[in-house]
């Protein structure tokens, strides 16, 4: 069975400090990977997606970056956090090649508080 693991579970960081969030998917080869951001009780905003190692596409510009160093790993980072970065970050995956009807499988997320 496929599993998705996000780390850390929660972070409290200072404005201007760097950030790195991670996501690992086990049990599935070549998944499509996604980062989503969610304000508390708010909607889900897609940030990045990746269909293969080393290839990441940005959907919105929020002074964040993402990388896919391995087939099963997706990293979200920034060198300088802003207050507006606070929220819930969700990693998700979908099976490769399914097209528009693909469902997303979400991780449990990382709660980020920027102070």
């Amino acid at each position: 069975a496929q599993t998705i693991h996000q780390w850390p579970v929660a972070e409290i960081k200072a404005v201007g400090s760097p950030l790195s969030l991670g996501c690992t998917i086990k049990g599935k080869s070549s998944p499509n990977l996604y980062w989503y951001w969610q304000a508390t009780g708010g909607t889900l905003q897609q940030l990045f997606y990746s269909i293969t190692v080393g290839q990441v596409e940005s959907v919105v510009q929020l002074n964040l970056s993402a990388s896919r160093p391995k087939d099963d790993q997706f990293i979200l980072s920034t060198e300088k956090l802003l207050l507006s970065h606070s929220g819930f970050y969700l990693c998700a995956w979908s099976p490769p090649g399914q097209g528009r009807n693909e469902r997303l499988f979400f991780g449990h997320g990382t709660k980020l508080s920027v102070l």
């Binding site: 889900l44 897609q46 959907v59």
Partner: protein, 114 residues
């Protein structure tokens, strides 16, 4: 561009009553709609999906019918339970862009009280 509208931000109901959560969408392409549910401190999970006009789809007591004529995909349940309290998102698959690009609505918080 593509978009999804959920008109109710918060719905509070007594256990056992029926519920309908509204979802309308806008797209120039053939629509593929989803409902995701997110319980407190949990990840969102797929509840329903459909691309077939006028066909009811059901799961876990919830059901929805895609109506292309009215651009709607409302979520319904005949009798809500306490465990249905959660955040519900309607989402539209974006045909014009990358794989997995979903446009999510603002979400509807459903609270079921005893």
């Amino acid at each position: 561009g593509d978009s999804v509208t959920q008109t109710e931000g918060l719905v509070t109901l007594t256990k056992g009553l029926p519920v309908m959560l509204n979802c309308t969408y806008q797209t120039t392409y053939s629509p593929f709609l989803f409902w995701y549910v997110q319980h407190l401190n949990e990840a969102p999970k797929l509840l329903l999906k459909s691309s077939t006009d006028n066909k009811r789809t059901e799961h876990q007591g919830f059901y929805a019918t895609l109506h292309k004529s009215s651009s709607s995909f409302h979520l319904q349940k005949s009798s809500v339970q306490l465990s249905d309290s959660a955040l519900y998102f309607c989402a539209l698959s974006d045909w014009g862009s990358a794989l997995g690009r979903l446009h999510f609505g603002a979400g509807t918080q459903l609270i079921v009280i005893p």
